[in-house]
Point group: C2
Chain length 142, copies 2
């Protein structure tokens, strides 16, 4: 018997709002033909997610070319009750080469870890999906 269940999908605007309500997410990309994932910090501006990549050269070498498709995930899930939400964005990641703009974002987005590599990467959200979990009891009571 499941105690909790999925309650439909989040709309695009609510998903973006939830994404903007937290600062930590996970950047998913391809590195040496293998799936790779790194925790990073982000801010959301409109439909663009801006992250600071201090996790090493793996991300920036992948995005340094014309731009690559990545996924970005953030969630806020209570480990005890398993209630919460998860938002997944798929979009094109590009290295921010405008140093003035990059400096502005560095002032707003704290790096997840300190380090010497410190690039600013923008992800234009193309596909946005999100789920929210509520107690099955709450759903049954509807």
């Amino acid at each position: 018997m499941e105690e909790y269940r999925l309650l439909g999908e989040l709309g695009r605007s609510k998903a973006l709002r939830l994404l903007g309500s937290v600062s930590l997410g996970r950047l998913v990309f391809t590195h040496h033909a293998l799936p790779a994932i790194r925790p990073v910090n982000h801010v959301v501006e409109g439909e663009t997610i801006i992250v600071r990549a201090t996790a090493g050269a793996a991300i920036t070498s992948a995005t340094g070319r014309a731009g690559v498709v990545v996924a970005y995930e953030a969630d806020d899930i209570d480990p005890a009750t398993r209630l919460g939400w998860s938002v997944i964005v798929v979009g094109t990641a590009r290295l921010m080469t405008d140093e003035v703009a990059a400096a502005r974002y560095r002032a707003r987005v704290r790096p997840w870890i300190g380090g010497t590599a410190d690039d600013v990467i923008t992800i234009s959200a193309e596909l946005i999906s999100g789920y929210e979990m509520v107690p099955a009891a709450a759903e049954a009571a509807r």
Copy 2:
């Protein structure tokens, strides 16, 4: 000025132990040639991560073939202090077709969300990496 910094890498055994200390992680795979990520629950047995995929057919259709390389990430990071750890495993994911064994794991791994799709997927950990963050002050005091 960074308040926190990276304190080296976690060894393979400590990384697996930390991974086994939490139940929620994120499965990273390729779906329709795009990077995809889904939150799932897991247990760790030796160097194998076992997950229940109730998040939809995307994962199981990808692993239903001979096995695909996926990444798996779990972390425990304090959003306020940004201290904690992150472990990333890369390995081959296979659908568990032995229904007796699958039923055994279903009894141990709770699904993250309720649903009709309920496959058990094993990931044999090939590459294991992990990081742990401690306060820079603690490191400076060494």
